[in-house]
Amino acid sequence: MPAQAYGKTITVTDTLNRKIELPAKPERILLGFYFEDFYAIGGANAFDKVVAISKSTWHDWRLSQWNTYIKVNPEIAKLVDVGEVDSGTFSIEKAIASKPDVAILAAWQYNALGDVVTKLEAAGIPVVVADYNAQTVEKHVISTLMIGKILGTEQRAKKLADEYAAAVEDVMHRVMHLGGDKPRVYVELGNKGADEYGNSYREGMWGGVIGLAGGNNIAIGQAGQWSPLNPEYVLTSDPEVIFIAGSYWESRDKAVLMGFGVEPETTQSRLSTFLGRPGWSNLSAVKSQQVHALYHGGARTLYDYAFLQYIGKALYPEAFADIDPEETHRRFYETYLPVSAEGVFMTRLKSSP
């Protein structure tokens, strides 16, 4: 059944620059990803309109975050699970059977689904595409305004989008006029612990954020977008600032644990093992105590500018003297989300043992 049959419709523009027509006040939404951003834009009752989600992208990928939200809204756990696109468990039947007025998908889901999208549309379900993964101000803004229009919370969306754009602009402005060489930065995903070098990022993910914050990412120009660097290369490059991305990885004794409900001491002790790597005691970053941990789930969100500020401040403390990134992060949760940010999301390794 085409959307127009419901009578009143609205038209939104999505991140693929497609104009999509959908019911003016959709009451049944299929949400593929970006659950926190959706919450932030729609407010405390945003999930009342959600009928189906791709559960594993939340439950499996961000377990501690999922647990935190389930506590304030247990209904989320009862939503229809349409499966996950990447692993091929996405069920078009479940998606259609949940009778959504609109499906909001992430760009990577839309691309992976390919032809299946046409089938959803043929079944009368308009599909719109949000994209925070792109990590650009433009797509963050388009995604936010689009979701705001769908949820009828345009003003809140506009405020979020403006704040986001202004915060990123501010960071870029602060680092733009700084003279001198950019500090050398090394970033690594801390899921394997100190024994084995984890992935580093070139232009994508944290690599992009480091570039924006005025850092000289030593991984740029090396083969592979997401792959480990040669340990020897890290030593020779002598990074001045090191970021290890942590997350909540269950049953991993060595990974850098971060996120909701994690004790600061846990993150600190896991992070400190990295200093024991061969040769690391001679690195500039270690000597000047510039080893930091960042919450991996923090990138690609509406509040990722808090991490941008944190990286900027680590690189240029004076230029960011008046900025408190942790406070930015905490306040975002307080203002826009139904849960509070309790746990470790960004931290610096305290003096070496």
């Binding site: 990928w61 612990g193 084995e196 991984a219 083969a223 040669n230 340990p231 290369y233 020779t236 990885w249």
Partner: protein, 343 residues
Amino acid sequence: MTSIAYRKMARHRLGWLITGVTLLLLSILIDLSTGPALLNIYDVFSTFFSPEKMSDPMVYVIVHNIRLPMTMMAIVVGASLGAAGALMQTILGNPLASPYTLGFSAAAGFGAAVTILFGLELPYFPELSVPFFAFIAASTACALVYGVAQLKGVTAEVMVLSGIATLFLFQSLQSLAQYMASPEVLQEIVFWLFGSMLKANWFSVSVGSSIFLFSVLVLTKDCWKLTALRLGDDRALSLGVNVQRLRLKVFAVVSLLTAGAVAFVGTIGFIGLVAPHIARMLVGEDHRLLLPFSSITGAVLMVAASIISKVISPGSIVPIGIVTAVVGVPFLFGLILTNKRGS
């Protein structure tokens, strides 16, 4: 064959052996001197002979803690896979056989994938979890083929057939594990399967080389029997070789060698297929020479692959499993085209 001709042949073969060892030493030197730190050879040597004079402690760390374990592991893995491949081709009488034919490495890959997928960790030694379960899975695959062979007779045909079935079984299970994984975990699994020297450390080097030396000791007495086996089961039997027993014994050694090589650094293909062929073309069928030469060839190919993986992109190490075929294939083609003995 006259004794003069025999002596000439022996000298010819010895010549190749010396060439092989020289090549290996040379490639080790190049490998140790290659890396993004661009150390000069003099500095690299100083860390071995006069470490107390080193002004920069970083040079010592780079050579001894980062480069040396990787080079040593390349030698151990290359030598193990080279020998394992030669043994496999002999006991199965099949030139296409390699340590991978019977599914050992697929099983090892499955063990690793499951460990990474479910985050399994050994108590006390979490860093050994992946190698441990990879080894267990490879041994299970070995036991499976071994069991079938025991029941249905230890012929090359039965072993190849049950081995290939095992291979498919574990490949499917491996795919299943990948299918169930989230993208981050999937990437980790795929990376393991690529095979990478980044995982080398002194522990893996010592385990790998112990397995290799143990295998050498176990098989030293059997060299002539293996040579006889190349003439066919019947002839070997008539020469007094217990063919069944020999096959099972060698089979067990091959699984040990393969599991030891791939458990730590991931599935590294091709060396086990190519190294024995190169060795056979150069030194012939006499296993007293063929086995050591297969090992040397395997080691040279691995170290060469290690050098190339560092040269392609100095800052990141291109997984060596990807590079091995790129190094080995042109070498093999060259030999096929120039081999005078080729029929």
